[in-house]
Subunit: 134 residues, 4 copies
């Protein structure tokens, strides 16, 4: 399956003075979905996957209120390049699309602090899960 | 039932440079358990329950690592006074007690910004759920 | 002056397990610079400026380490539309560009929860501070 | 000088739905003051000072509102034991005491994950800065 559906719990602390989830917290939800998708892909060895976030884009569609039910974050790998790849995200709140986002990751050599090609075994995982959005 | 068992999800963002949940985040877990316990008690009208945190105590027992499984926070009302009451917390992580805590809440009149007696209907709820720790 | 230079203090808590500022915290720095620029513009009445963040873009250029010196965030208004406007940001860390970003804001009527034209007096402020990036 | 006076900047993101700084954020201010006091003491080598927070106590005295001016956090070492020591904190907001706190730190051997005696050179620094609150 190449689209992951990840539950991410809200926290009351995510709220801002407007009683909405702060726009700056939506990026936390996306990060959480990404980390959990990696776990599902069994990609947890930081030495192997060593990578950094190079770019984020987020579109806010609807305010998110607090509630006990978790958000549903749909995420998929939308592009695999030479040293970078892209993950797409949709944040669903009570059946409504609240935000969508795109994260560009770059593989990175911790020693030299330079970008590097996506390691071969990690590339296999990414390509096997590549998903063209419908 | 007078002890609430609340699941609180970890987030990767809770980690600090030691790869442990930051001690400053444990208070977020406690706040989340408190808010969710209130929901279970159907006490969500801020005008009625209007209250502020007056004091927190936290003992850190074990480092908390990241994981997909939620924490289990046990919480109960341990003391009810005239204008204040106390909630106790235990944060359980994978079967181990990771922290315990105590929060003193004071009822508060939003208009006058003064403490006030616990409103009668909220006192009934608190007293009905008062729990002497064993 | 149409480019604001805002100091934003780092916090140790901003660090992630890689000992860098978490990419998800850079958006907090941008929000902080935006709020402080509004204060400098004397635009603090939420009823008047009522607006929401519609879109964020962030490019991460360099990792940010902890330090006592504040970041310098340069921000300017780069576009003014009918109901939306765009602010650009550069996050400078110890003389190096660490990130750049773009935030699209939409004016919003709190009552009807609909977008609306930028209020005239706020538009004057925005246009007077519009800055074409060199 | 044995009382440190540390400026800690507020962030708009620290606010909760009551338009006050969240009680859970006050612990971030305390952590920040502690880290910055260590820098002033030139105690930054984590291998040497290796320690964990064992206990926190916070009393909330007044709500903290957002503002451009930083908080002033006064902190001092109030007790030095065999393997643990205590730091006291006062959080001052615009000339008013907003919170006071106490943090108990335990020295910790990262290898064995056991508490250990305070290392001799670090003990000298602590004792030289021990301060009996007036």
């Amino acid at each position: 399956m190449s689209v992951f559906e990840i539950e991410v719990a809200k926290r009351f602390k995510d709220l801002d003075p407007y009683d909405h989830v702060s726009n700056a917290v939506v990026i936390d939800y996306i990060m959480e979905a990404r980390v959990r998708a990696y776990r599902l892909l069994e990609q947890v060895d930081r030495a192997i996957i060593g990578q950094v976030v190079a770019r984020q884009e987020i579109n806010y569609r609807r305010p998110i209120l607090f509630g006990l039910e978790p958000l549903l974050v749909r995420t998929w790998i939308s592009h695999v390049g030479r040293s970078s790849f892209t993950m797409d995200f949709e944040v669903w709140d009570e059946g409504h699309l609240a935000a969508d986002a795109k994260t560009v990751m770059v593989c990175f050599d911790i020693g030299s602090r330079q970008s590097r090609e996506i390691p071969k075994e990690f590339r296999h995982v990414l390509e096997a899960n590549l998903h063209a959005p419908s």
